[in-house]
Symmetry: D2
C-alpha cells in the first residue's frame, strides 16, 4: 500500500477514513446534521447540502484523516480486547479523566481556528445528534474516541461555514444563491489552508 | 516595579491580576459559582469553599495571570478608544470571527489539560452566571476578552477539582471531610504542576 | 471603518496587517527567506517565489491577521509606555516566563497543523534571519510579540509548502515546473482550509 | 485491574507508564540528561538530581501518563504488524506528514505552558540525546510516537524547572542550596497544578 518512497497515497488514506466512519455507523449526513443545527441560528439560508459539502471538505484534510484513523483503530482494538493493560480498561470504560480522545480530536479541530475549538468543547459536553447516540450505546461497542472525533469534524465544518459565509456576505452574495462549487472555492480571508 | 534583573516580582503580578478582575466587576465568588454549577453533578459533597479555593489556586499560575492582564488591558484600551484601527473597531464590537480572545483564554486553560479545554468551550457557548452578565451588558463597557478569561478560569478550577476529587476518592476520603488545606496539598497523579 | 453590521471589511484587516508588519520593519521577503531555509532540505527545486507566495497566502487568513494586529499593537503601546503596570514592565523587558507572545503566535500557527506548530517551536528557540535581528535590537524598540509572530508566519508557510509539495509529488509534478498559481490552487488532501 | 467504579487505580497507571518507557529502552536518566542540557545555560547551579526529580514529577501527571501509554501501545502494535492498513504503513514508516505523534505529545506538554510547548518544538527538530538515538535506530523497532513523547516529557520537566527556579530566586534561595524536597514543594506562582 505504498508508493516508491514507501508512502501511502493520500487517496488511499482519504478512502480509508470514509470507510472507517461508515464501518462504525457514522454517515456524512449524521455529521452534517449537527453542523446544520449549529449554524442555522447564524445563517437562515443554510442548506443541508452546504453542510454535507463542508463535512466532506473537512474530511479531505490530512490532520483530520490521521486522527480519525488512529482513534477508530484504538476503539476497535479495545472492542476486541487487543490492547494491553491498563490501557484496555481505561479506553473500554471511557474513564472520565482520560483525555487522549479529546487531545486527538483537538489536533484535528485546531486547524480550523479557535472558534472551531470552542465549538468542539461545546459539542463534547452537550452531545447532540449522532454524538449522543454513540455516547449512550448499551451494547459492547467502544466509542471512546469516535464521539470526540465526530464532534471535532462537526465543529470544524461549522467553523468553515461561518468563515465562508462572512466572505460571501462581503461579496454581497447570500449563501442559498450560491452553487456549492462556488461556495467551496471562494478565495477570501478565512478560506485558504 | 522591577527587581535587580529588571523583572516584576511574582507577588506584584498576582496582586495586579486580582485587582484587575475586581476593577472589571468580577469577584472570586462569581467565578467560584460557575465552578460549583459545573462540578456539583459529579460531586454532591462539593462546597462553595472548595470552589473558591480552587479559583484562587488557578489565579496563582503565571500563565493565567499574564493572560488576564493582557486581556483586561485590551478591553480597557478599547473602552477608552485608545487602540488603533481596525483593531479598535474589531475589539469594541466583539466581532464573531475575531478569535484572539479565545486564543488568549485557551493559553491559560490548556495548562489544566484537555478536559479543562473542552469545559472552556462549553462555557464559551453556554455562558452561565457572570459570563452571561458580561456578555449582555448594554452600557459602553467592552468585555470582549473578559468573558473568555472568566470562562477559562472557571474551566480550569473545575478541572482541577475533578482531578483532585479522584485522587481523594482513591485515598478513601470524601471531599466534604477534607479541610481545604489538605485538599490543596494532595500530592497525587493529577495534582502537581 | 465598519460595514452595515458594524464590522470591519476583511480587505481592510488584510491591508492593515501588511502595513503593520512593514511599519515594524518586516517584509514579506524577510519571512519568505526563513521559509526557504526551512524547506530547501526537503525540496531542492524550491524557489523563493514559492515561499513568497506561501507567506502571502498565510497572511490572508483571519486568525493570522488578528494575531499580528494584536501583537504589534501591544509592542507599539509598550514602546510608547502606554500600557499600565505591571504589564508595561513585563512586555518592555520581554520577560522569560511571559508566554502570551507565544500563545498568540500559537493561535495562528496551530491552524496549519501540528508540524507547523513544532516548526514554530524550533524557530522560537533557534531564531534565524529577521527573527534574530528583531531579538537582538539594541535601540528602544520593543519586539516582544513581533519575533514570535514572524516565527509563526514562517512556520505556517513552510508547513503549507510541505503539504502542497506532497500533493504535487503524488500528481507526478515537480514544484519548479509548476506556475505559482497552480501551486496555490492545488486541491488535494492537505490543501484546503 | 479496576476499582469498584470500574476504574484503574492511579498508582497502576503510573507504574505502567514507567515500565513502558523502560521496556522501550528509555530511562528517567536519559530524559533528565536532555533537561540538564536545556536548562544549564539559564541556571549554572543546576544538578542532574534536580532534573531527575523534575522528570519524575512530570511522569506523575495523568495527561502525561495517558499519552505515554497510548503512544507506546501504537508503536508496539506497529512493530508487531498488528495495526490495520493504511495506519500500519503510515506509523511503521513514520511518514513526514503524519502528525498524530506530535499531537499526542502536545496534549501532554501543553499542560506545562507555552514555553514548554516551544521547547518541545525545538527538541522535536533538533533531536538531542536519547531522542536522536531513537530516531536513528536501524533495526526493525518502531519509535514513531516514542521520540515525540520523550521530547514532550523533557520539555515539560525543563519548563517546570524554569518556573521553580524563578520562584526560588525571588525567595532569595539558589537552587543548589535547596534540598530536592523543598524544590518540589515550593508553592509559588508557577508551581501549582
Amino acid at each position: 500500500m505504498q508508493d516508491k518512497k514507501g508512502r501511502v497515497p493520500s487517496e488511499a488514506v482519504a478512502q480509508a477514513t470514509k470507510e472507517a466512519l461508515k464501518r462504525r455507523g457514522v454517515t456524512i449526513e449524521d455529521i452534517a446534521e449537527i453542523v446544520y443545527r449549529l449554524q442555522l441560528p447564524y445563517n437562515t439560508n443554510l442548506l443541508m447540502e452546504d453542510c454535507i459539502d463542508s463535512v466532506e471538505r473537512v474530511l479531505r484534510k490530512r490532520e483530520v484523516q490521521h486522527s480519525v484513523l488512529v482513534g477508530i483503530e484504538l476503539d476497535e482494538l479495545a472492542e476486541k480486547k487487543k490492547l494491553s493493560e491498563p490501557l484496555q480498561s481505561i479506553i473500554e470504560s471511557d474513564e472520565g479523566l482520560f483525555g487522549v480522545d479529546e487531545t486527538l480530536a483537538l489536533g484535528a479541530v485546531m486547524t480550523y481556528g479557535s472558534i472551531a475549538l470552542t465549538t468542539f468543547g461545546y459539542l463534547d459536553k452537550s452531545k447532540i445528534g449522532i454524538i449522543k447516540e454513540l455516547d449512550t450505546k448499551i451494547d459492547r461497542s467502544v466509542h471512546t474516541f469516535l464521539d470526540d472525533l465526530v464532534a471535532s469534524i462537526a465543529a470544524s465544518a461549522a467553523s468553515r461555514i461561518a468563515h465562508r459565509f462572512r466572505d460571501l456576505e462581503e461579496d454581497g452574495v447570500a449563501m442559498a444563491d450560491t452553487p456549492a462549487l462556488v461556495l467551496e472555492s471562494s478565495s477570501h480571508a478565512g478560506s485558504d489552508f
